[in-house]
């Protein structure tokens, strides 16, 4: 039961389709923003941005590294991390903690949170507004401001629930 889901498969939203996808962010726009903030525009940086836009699902630093290295194998993993850090500082990128595994990065399109299947790694997206009661409780009773983006909820997707029902071998299992 070691490493499952290396590739996060995003379960399509039934009706909505792609309401939340990168709202037309372009490489140029981001580059612009970087320049404005006094940063240099280098090839690795440009590649990272490009791959981040192309991969509109969420991916780990390592996934991203592979995508970038497919274009330029010279780019180092540490560069990926440093750039993701920078891009987060500029609010261009956000990350989410997806249970046990590696952190997942994506463009800051806002407005949705994530839930990951603990057995297969499939991700669904959840409208932020459903966090309302939680936000309100935390706010009013503790003055605490919950950030729904930052972590992924955990659970079991339809498929895995089904197969768990059939195959009884199901240990408590996953992390």
């Amino acid at each position: 039961v070691r490493s499952a889901h290396s590739k996060v498969r995003v379960v399509a939203s039934p009706e909505s389709g792609r309401e939340h996808l990168p709202p037309g962010v372009t490489e140029a726009m981001i580059v612009e923003q970087l320049r404005a903030d006094g940063h240099r525009v280098t090839e690795p940086r440009r590649l990272i941005i490009r791959c981040l836009i192309e991969a509109h699902d969420h991916r780990t630093a390592d996934d991203l590294a592979r995508a970038v290295q497919a274009i330029n194998p010279e780019v180092a993993l540490s560069t990926i991390y440093r750039n993701l850090e920078e891009l987060e500082r500029l609010k261009i990128v956000e990350h989410a903690h997806v249970g046990h595994g590696a952190v997942s990065y994506h463009l800051a399109a806002g407005t949705h949170a994530h839930a990951v299947c603990e057995s297969c790694g499939a991700t669904i997206e959840v409208p932020e507004r459903l966090f309302g009661p939680l936000l309100e409780f935390a706010e009013t009773t503790h003055g605490f401001a919950i950030d729904p983006h930052h972590i992924a909820l955990v659970g079991r997707c339809a498929a895995c629930r089904r197969s768990a029902a059939t195959g009884p071998g199901g240990a408590t299992g996953q992390r």
Copy 2:
């Protein structure tokens, strides 16, 4: 800004007090359960259970190791991990992913979820019922069963929000 919160401070619930604390679980009860499941009762195991009960706030494997080693320094960290794993299999213990840091373990008292302050690590507890809308959405639109226990929500506690407001130095910061 390296390692902050090693000690997770649990913000007291304003009124409720300790409604959810270990509902009188005892070492003996758990030992019983272990035996029933065909496991052996060893000293390390006993100590781990004891410390887990005594520390009714949530703690990392490492915290727990220190507590156990205060009694018997021989106990290895790997034993802690292996036992936590076993206890989870028996549904005696649960773990929660608390943002970036180490995983947090606690007795499976159920009925509440967690939210952690991303800057100081303070934890609040959140009634499970507030997840209702989320559970329902995930269930009806994707057949997905969210498990509110498994991960901690992330946000900012009252104190840190206040100091962020005063001290402007606040970077985007924390992980």
